[in-house]
């Protein structure tokens, strides 16, 4: 029961950061919202894997964490170098 409420709260938090991503004025706030969504996705996968007792979902969560970290790092370095407009 507690795990189900946790999953619902995580989904609501993801939706809220999606709203921030749409209305954010500068580009770094959108990047921040992307970071939040990636961390929440890892947590949602882990909690769902424990709830269903399937160990393969934890491996998928691990891979998702690595991909999210690489995405944030590469996008931040691209924006730091000036982006496409320079």
């Amino acid at each position: 029961m507690l795990l189900q409420i946790t999953m619902v709260l995580l989904a609501a938090a993801m939706f809220a950061s999606l709203v921030r991503m749409i209305i954010g004025p500068t580009i770094w706030e959108r990047l921040l919202a992307l970071n939040l969504i990636s961390a929440k996705t890892l947590l949602l996968l882990v909690v769902h894997g424990v709830y269903k007792q399937k160990i393969i979902l934890l491996d998928i969560a691990f891979t998702y964490g690595i991909i999210g970290f690489l995405t944030i790092t590469l996008l931040a370095r691209l924006i730091l170098a000036g982006g496409r407009e320079k």
């Binding site: 507690l2 795990l3 409420i5 946790t6 709260l9 995580l10 609501a12 938090a13 809220a16 950061s17 921030r20 500068t26 770094w28 706030e29 990047l31 921040l32 919202a33 970071n35 939040l36 961390a39 929440k40 890892l42 947590l43 882990v46 909690v47 424990v50 160990i55 934890l58 491996d59 969560a61 691990f62 964490g65 970290f69 944030i72 790092t73 931040a76 370095r77 924006i79 730091l80």
Partner: protein, 97 residues
């Protein structure tokens, strides 16, 4: 008992993370607030799940994910903050309007 306590604590952290995104109007305050509360929330949830499973294969895998989160969460926050700072976003005073 300890599992339900840690899970309820993590709900409080997630709610404060949502509030922190929409409450401030400065960019650095938003960055400091939401990402930090989010890191603490993920550590709390992973610790609660380790205690929930006891001593098994699940706990070992969850412990690896916990170490991964502790190492990589600060780096991604630091990269965003550095990219905003070097591009010349000025820190504005907030709360003295």
């Amino acid at each position: 008992m300890i599992v339900s306590g840690l899970l309820i604590l993590s709900w409080i952290y997630i709610l404060f993370g949502i509030v922190g995104i929409f409450r401030f109007s400065n960019m650095y305050s938003r960055l400091l607030t939401s990402s930090k509360i989010d890191t603490v929330a993920s550590i709390t949830i992973l610790l609660a799940l380790i205690f929930y499973n006891g001593f098994s294969v699940f706990s070992l895998r969850l412990f690896l994910i916990l170490i991964f989160v502790i190492i990589t969460c600060p780096i991604s926050n630091h990269v965003i903050a550095r990219s905003a700072y070097l591009n010349g976003i000025i820190i504005e005073k907030e709360g003295k309007k």
